[in-house]
Amino acid sequence: MDLTYPDEAKSFADEVRAFVREKLPHAIRDKVMNGRELERDDNVAWQRILHARGWATPAWPAEYGGPGWTTLQRHMFAEILSEEGAPAFIPFGQEMLAPVLFAVGSREQQQHFLPRIATLEYWFCQGFSEPGAGSDLASLKTRAVLEGDQWVINGQKMWTSTAQNGTHIFLLARTDPAAPKPQMGISMFIFPLAVPGITVRPIITMDGEHHTNEVFFEDVRVPKDAIIGEPNKGWDYAKLLLGHERTTIARVGQSKRQLKRLKKIAGEEMVDGVPLLETPSFRDKVAALEIELMSLDLSVLRMIAGEGKNAPGNEANMVKIKGSEIQQRVTELLVEAVGPAALPYDRAAMHGAGSEDPIGPDYAGTLAASYFMTRVVTIYGGSNEIQRNILAKSLGL
């Protein structure tokens, strides 16, 4: 039992931290630190900076261009980046699709797509959910029919995040409607978004921003080899993909950054002449949150240390639940911290343009929107109710 990081881990952390501090453009860092919206170019620029350093795809095996890091290193890398205000990776290509390509992609697919994913030249989106298939993904209705050497796709996808920025999509579609179980007749496809018959319609979320979309497919024709792996095996690939990167799901680094921000803001807000952070009620709430986060941080480290070794395997569900609850809690306390200053809706503040003349304190303009938007973290990626169902099953209930 030894909780200290080994020396090589410490020097690795120093190296990563120094790199981010040197290379991360200040304007991007500033947006992340203050909860402002990133533009497409921000993500691409940062991905290219990482790529130049060989760190663009930390989770990829060395043979596909990854840095060959241990799980602990990957965890530390992600956490330091997040703490220092780097944009999060766009997960769809490199974290979700790539493992499927490693496993069942053809050599041609691997050679064509992987390098372009690594630089964000190809910005992938995920075409899974549908209006009638959310938690119950297996009930999806989008159809793909092979006609000659083309697949013809018809249907509608929903919650296709970043499709407005994307170049490509990976998509689940039903290829065998007669399969005995709904999961069994599904295949996975990848192709560009810029093919005829695709319409992307924005879904504006309650923070007033454009994060996600509906995507309509009307007689969309893609080549026969746009399929990944074998036909009707798409469900297995999707499961592989949804189990991606167990250690980043807790978002420990991001929550640490947010907690630091909360303390800073609550240290500046005054209540009857005393900093809010020093009033016992608020202080205790912040302390309780910090302790939750310490516990989560250690749980993730324990999960990493135990990986592969007869681990029960359900820690990922646990850290997803706790991690998402903590993410929400920080945003709740941030809104509480600024009080009435959270009320103005300052769209300019969300996009960094309003900093010259903010309505309230310059840190307050994004907080309500961030609180609203963060309600989603207990919903997406398998709602916390679904996570608890999975955990109950693993307990034999």
Binding site: P340, A342, L343, P344, Y380, E385, R388
Partner: protein, 376 residues
């Protein structure tokens, strides 16, 4: 003891509900909110026609001299419809304060206009550094002959961008946080030195930052006694709280109905999601939160005019705490039970949730009112 609605209240309820249903659907509301003013003169005129703006105003000023419980049923209906007009600032807080503290001349000058829908009010009491403390007033008013000269900045003034007249708290004596030395003034929107920066709030209602630079008002603009304005602000804010508590009932009731309906109709895994016990119990908790809120909103309405300020403070703060908690249970619960669709701007659930969030913040959050309750 009687919790039933009077005949008047039934009538008001029907009137307000019908108005909302016929004139303020989700799409109409969206259009109004997207307009430059963010509010609807036509709707406001209808409020006046239907007598909703003068419910509490004395008959001699064109009102119907009703009680706060009469207002409460209208607020409930407005909550259900997410009415974003400045009803609380003008009718509940502004006119309520004038009725209580105004001189006969002030009443005669203002109340008929409110009742007729031609005059809007806003109470400019908060400041950038005041948070929820009513006694934290840095804005100053200096006597200068027959005038006062007001300087300062007022922050997040609810309804401030639509107001024709502002009721401004300013310090005529003492230090920034002294309870004594605060006075209230009626300030014309168009007076020299008044700058109003209006904006929408996160829930779609409107507020403003108000800057006062050497604003000269006549001595007759003083509302109530000099230096003794804190009690009046406290009264007006307590009215605002009681109003929003009752509005929140409508918001929560509508959101619960919407969520319950969603649970019954949304099918996943081959059955309505409302068949899952965990979702059932969460829905039950949301219904119970509404019931708890209902009891306390009634209590708040009953205590608005309580002659004992401590007893009033206790009831009002208790209600605000309960509304805040219930709002969280109902609002967050509804979004979670809806899943993705609840996150979108084009579905009304999110707007109910945002209004509950704003109500939780307005006039002091849960912690603020727990402390006030315990002190009172």
């Amino acid at each position: 003891m009687d919790f039933a609605l009077t005949e008047t209240q039934h009538l008001l309820q029907d009137t307000a509900n019908r108005l909302v249903r016929e004139r303020y659907g989700f799409e109409e509301r969206k259009k109004i909110l997207a307009s430059p003013a963010g509010s609807s003169p036509e709707l406001w005129a209808s409020f006046a026609e239907l007598g909703l703006l003068g419910i509490e105003i004395a008959e001699r000023f064109g009102g119907s001299e009703g009680g706060f419980h009469d207002l409460a049923v209208v607020l409930d209906a407005f909550g259900r419809g997410l009415v974003a007009e400045p009803f609380v600032p003008t009718v509940v807080m502004g006119a309520g304060l004038i009725s209580r503290a105004g001189s006969e001349a002030q009443k005669a000058a203002i109340l008929p206009g409110v009742a007729a829908g031609t005059l809007k009010l806003a109470l400019a009491y908060g400041e950038r550094r005041s948070r929820y403390s009513l006694n934290h007033v840095e804005t100053t008013a200096k006597a200068d002959g027959d005038f006062y000269v007001i300087d300062g900045q007022k922050s997040v003034v609810l309804g401030g961008d639509a107001a024709d007249q502002l009721i401004v708290s300013a310090r005529t004596a003492g230090k920034a946080t002294d309870p004594d030395g605060i006075s209230l003034f009626l300030v014309e929107r168009g007076a020299a030195g008044v700058a109003i920066r209006g904006y929408p709030t996160v829930d779609g209602t409107r507020a403003a930052e108000v800057t006062l630079t050497g604003v000269r008002v006549a001595k007759t603009a003083l509302l109530g006694s000099e230096d003794q304005g804190l009690g009046l602000v406290d009264y007006a804010v307590d009215r605002g709280i009681a109003a929003m508590c009752n509005e929140a009932l409508g918001v929560m009731a509508a959101l619960n109905e919407l969520t319950l309906e969603y649970l019954k109709t949304r099918v996943q895994f081959g059955r309505p999601i409302g068949k899952f016990q965990v979702l059932q119990h969460r829905m039950v908790d949301m219904e119970m939160a509404l019931e708890q809120a209902k009891s306390m909103a009634i209590l708040a309405a009953a205590h608005v005019k309580d002659g004992d300020p401590r007893s009033r403070a206790k009831a009002i703060s208790a209600a605000k705490v309960q509304i805040g908690k219930s709002g969280q249970v109902v609002g967050r619960g509804a979004i979670q039970l809806h899943g993705g669709i609840g996150m979108t701007e084009e579905y009304i659930a999110a707007h109910f949730f945002k209004r509950l969030t704003a109500i939780e913040i307005c006039f002091g959050d849960i912690d603020h009112h727990l402390a006030r309750f315990a002190r009172s």
